[in-house]
Amino acid sequence: MQTFLMALLQFFIILIISPFIVGLMQKTKSLVRGSVGPCVFQPYFNILKLMQKEVVLSNQSSYISIIAPYIVAVVPITVAGFLPVFDSNTLMSFSGDIIAMVYILALGTFFLALFGFDQGSSFGGLGSSREMTVASLAEPAFIMVIFTFALQSNSTNISHIFDSMRGDIFFNYPVSSTLALMALYFVTLAEAGRIPIDNPETHLELTMIHEAMILDASGRNLALLEIGSFVKTTIFLTLFSNIFMPLGFYDTNTIWTIGFSIFIYFIKMSTLGVIIAIGELTLAKLRYFRISDAMMFGFVLALISMVTYRL
């Protein structure tokens, strides 16, 4: 019972924190630019507001537009059930295969792309075709990073990987782990749609990737798609932080250790959010055809990291 409660707690922490992380990134960017910017809790209000609004669908759209937002939202939420935040007992720890996790995420991307196409507007199709290109370039690098961890911990079960991470994997294999970290950073930028791959703030329809697909979404559908993208971003950051900053974990669970672990997790995520936001500010967006170069760089890093997994 206690393990189930722990799993449920971790699951909800990921869900609850995710709009905050995105809000924090926006706030950081605004502050560095010298403007005040929206409150860090603005994404919560946005979701609440959108939930109350009616859905307007294009008359070109089919049943895909009705089901796709739910799938896009549910997929990352399901994946959140795989991820350990501070305890290896997760909702899916009985079968928490990391390869399954990668491809469940891909299912969300697939339906998001379908949703873009289904609107019948040219921007949706444009966004979908770009998103699929970026996703197919990011996937090999992601899988290579995953394989590195699987090799290092001799398991593809996320909870096992997590347990061995809490040991000394990072310090036992510093070369491989550092390279994997760099590769995962590229993957995170691509999957979360951040600069230099995609610009989440732009109003220019022609340069958008993720935003172009959801340009026609409204009301509850838009809220669901937003939740999907928030949770996805948080999943990647959680993966990042738990693998490379294995702090704040305890073998025994008391109220105090749990509270402290949650606090540490919160700090780690905020730090990562701020780092990514500042990284975005120092770069311009890449040309569309240069994205493959960046992703190739990520892939090569991941490949070297896998080959040298004992270093």
Binding site: K29, S122, I195, H203, A284, K285, L286, Y288
Partner: protein
């Protein structure tokens, strides 16, 4: 010049010279136009149709950049005229505009579709400048030149966009990401300025002229005022001339900074964008301090200026100095950032021949190897006394255009410094000259940040009977169709921003 005049005499029936304006009437219009456009390498600057006693007159204004001369070629027409848009592509839009507004038919026009008056919104046969009557209640349609082929799809963008920007319709023919063809359709905000100004008092037209393109309010007012001053023979006091130059340069800095910020923004570099926007705000506050509003509206009046800016010389010098320092910092950031330069270089190339054919003006032309700056080639106000270096680059890409603009900002800082030194030494500032309105018609011109503005003004009985402004955007818009070829869709906003054309100025 004598040789040129001799060659022109060979074509012409009537020839008159007035200052740097040469007026020519000829029957061999085509050969003379081609001689001016091709052999002398003149730019087409404005085309004006106006009502005459019987029929209409069409005037073509060519500017000769090598010497400070303008050629006005004119002809009488009844209801149709010969089109030579095939040979002088810059005439294409002018001739279509004349048909829409006056109903004069350009014979053998290569692309005879409606331009300013959309056939969906204006009844067939309605030509507002000819007469007001609506003969027909039927509406037409507009045919796009879409590319139809397997694997080519059309992406229509606008006229409503996702951001707060002016309306414009862009139709891309795409094959994957690369752009095969771009067709633009503008004129969604036709306000009928030419019709509105007919028979209005001069002061009212001066006010209207400032609304042609919001950010270039002062430059438009300046070209209108200078046309009127030329007609009435007004000598503007030199103090007022220096103040006008300061105002014009401040406007130029503010527009160029805004472009610079826009390029950062559209390249996805928001840190630089907000920094530069803050600088622009400093300049606009200075403009408010000097002129009473943020766009220098009503600063220029006929015969001089409306406000004395002498008491604020200290503020001008202090703010310009501080803006200059911060500007250099951001310029360095741009020059040292590979990720920004990588976006700008080789993007949106415009060939020199395209610039020549379309008579593009301003930085668009200067960045493609064809120098265009009326401050140097046709100096007005006191620009001939000022010493500044203009930049001509051959690359023709976004990066070249940005560099020309950055150089322009530097020039403006320098010019303002010289002019403030001068006005601070004047003891008794004289703001405006006394004048009487006379009848006549003249061209007035000024260099805005986008290029030269040329206004045609005709006054009869103290009223403006014909006002034909020509904004630089009207000359430059077509170049974007060539700039995007071969580039990818995602780079279009950046190219568009680097050209930064006005939708309102284009559509009168």
């Amino acid at each position: 010049m004598k040789e040129i005049f001799d060659s022109i005499h060979y074509f012409c029936d009537e020839f008159s010279e007035d200052g740097n304006f040469v007026t020519i009437k000829t029957k061999q219009l085509k050969s003379l136009s081609l001689y001016l456009f091709r052999d002398l390498d003149c730019d087409l600057s404005n085309v004006v149709a106006l009502r005459a006693k019987d029929g209409f007159i069409i005037k073509y204004l060519y500017s000769y950049p090598k010497k400070d001369y303008f050629f006005i070629v004119w002809q009488n027409v009844q209801d149709k005229f010969e089109s030579f848009a095939d040979d002088i592509p810059a005439l294409n839009w002018f001739e279509r505009e004349i048909y829409d507004l006056f109903g004069l038919i350009p014979l053998n026009h290569p692309d005879f579709r409606a331009l300013p008056l959309h056939p969906e919104n204006y009844p067939i046969g309605f030509h507002p400048m000819q007469n007001d009557e609506i003969k027909d209640e039927n509406y037409g349609t507009y045919e796009y030149k879409d590319v139809k082929s397997e694997g080519v799809y059309t992406v229509p963008v606008g006229p409503i966009h996702a951001g707060v920007i002016e309306p414009g319709h862009f139709r891309f023919a795409m094959s994957g990401e690369p752009i095969l063809q771009l067709e633009i359709r503008h004129f969604w905000k036709h306000r009928g300025i030419e019709k509105l100004c007919e028979g209005k008092e001069i002061d009212k037209v001066l006010k209207i002229s400032q609304k042609i393109s919001g950010d270039n309010a002062l430059s438009h007012a300046l070209s209108f005022a200078m046309a009127v001053e030329k007609i009435c023979g007004i000598k503007v006091p030199s103090f007022a001339q220096y103040c006008r130059v300061i105002a014009a340069e401040l406007e130029r800095i503010s527009c160029n900074l805004s472009d610079f910020a826009g390029v950062f923004q559209d390249a996805g570099y928001s840190f630089g964008a907000s920094g530069i926007t803050a600088l622009k705000e400093d300049i606009m506050r200075l403009m408010k301090l000097l002129g009473g509003n943020r766009f220098f509206k009503d600063f220029v009046i006929i015969g001089g200026i409306s406000k004395n800016i002498k008491p604020y010389t200290k503020e001008i010098i202090a703010i310009i100095k501080q803006v200059n320092i911060t500007f250099d910092k951001y310029k360095k950031i741009m020059e040292n950032s590979s990720s920004i330069l990588e976006r700008l270089e080789t993007t949106g190339k415009i060939k020199k021949q395209t610039v020549k054919d379309l008579s593009c003006v301003g930085f668009t032309a200067s960045a493609s190897g064809r120098f265009s700056d009326f401050r140097k080639t046709h100096p007005y106000l006191i620009y001939s006394k000022l010493d500044f270096e203009t930049l001509v680059l051959d690359e023709g890409d976004v990066s070249a255009r940005v560099q020309v603009k950055l150089n322009d900002i530097k020039n403006s800082f320098k010019i303002i410094k010289i002019c403030t030194n001068y006005i601070s030494q004047v003891d008794k500032p004289k703001l405006k000259a006394r004048y009487e309105i006379k009848d006549g018609e003249e061209f007035g011109y000024a260099q805005s940040n986008r290029g030269n503005i040329v206004h045609f003004v005709k006054i009869e009985d103290n009223k403006v009977v014909r006002f034909k402004p020509r904004d630089p955007s009207f000359m430059n818009w077509q170049s974007i169709q060539f700039a995007v070829l071969g580039d990818v869709m995602g780079d279009f906003p950046l190219i568009n921003k680097s050209l930064n054309l006005s939708y309102a100025g284009n559509d009168l």
